[in-house]
Symmetry: C2
């Protein structure tokens, strides 16, 4: 009996755990993407945000009359918050790279996404408001002779670059959060 | 031979298609979320964007001197593009609701996400630039007596509301695109 049934009946292999391959897939996919927390790409982005934000504040600080314009004060405040945020996350990235610890947890992605979203929106708003005023002074009123137009424009441009460097971090974290 | 093997060997059911339950899950989850293309929530958001954008342009248009400020001209241009976009998508939503056709295709989500992202960023930038100038005129220079401060502020506020009504559409489409 057994000799007959053996050739026709093959043991059915137990199906693999459903979450096993998915997790492996996610792990592989997440490892490939530079820019996520704990990667060199992320560290590069955070340092870019920090450096350009710092330059923006320093250039704006060298003008004596930026305090008389609300938008410029707001720019300095928003970029200050942003560079503190970027510096903190750069330190976290350096720590993760040094001790080879992963930061791929949902709570971290959620925190970083919300933080990046709020802070980049604030910085972008400040940069746009400052850009509106520099264009008003330069083009519309033509009063660059009595104002530090070049410095205002440089500070605004640096804030824009800092803000644009924050966008990939936000979009990447948001994408990862949604695809988990 | 056959009578022996029958009781011990049970037919193994074919495993369900792997994409079947996932698709069903996505379909159920997507049906629940109002605000996606082709839903009443989406139509409400698009009409809100359109109405507030239109009010913003009309209010700004009633001022005689908005053309002398670049940021206000940019606001009118950006919001014009935005209301055309919102109106087009509102028409698409109405069509989808009337003929009960689904718009849940990846290419549609991708198109709407990119469009919403770019246009809401442009509108937000224009609103921020206008806000910076209205604050400059009102608070910093205190020249509201010779300018239409209230109308400028109203137009800017309407543009902000229109832009904020676009954010849920963008985030929802982006989230759906990423989770597919």
């Amino acid at each position: 009996m057994s000799s007959v049934s053996r050739p026709t009946v093959h043991p059915v292999e137990a199906p693999p755990y459903t979450d096993g391959p998915q997790n492996a897939l996610i792990r592989v996919r997440m490892k490939d993407v530079q820019g996520m927390p704990g990667t060199r790409g992320s560290l590069f982005l955070r340092l870019t945000q920090f450096v350009f934000g710092l330059v923006s504040i320093c250039v704006m600080g060298t003008t004596s009359d930026f305090r008389s314009v609300t938008a410029f004060c707001y720019l300095v405040s928003a970029v200050s918050v942003q560079i503190l945020w970027s510096l903190s996350l750069a330190v976290v990235d350096i720590y993760a790279l040094l001790v080879r610890r992963t930061l791929r947890k949902q709570i971290i992605f959620r925190l970083f996404t919300i933080g990046d979203g709020i802070i980049s929106t604030l910085t972008f708003a400040a940069a746009c408001a400052s850009a509106g005023i520099t264009v008003l002074i330069d083009n519309d009123l033509d009063k660059c002779s009595v104002n530090h137009c070049v410095r205002f424009q440089t500070a605004t441009a640096m804030a824009y670059i800092s803000c644009f460097a924050m966008m990939p971090s936000f979009l990447l974290n948001f994408w990862t959060l949604a695809s988990q």
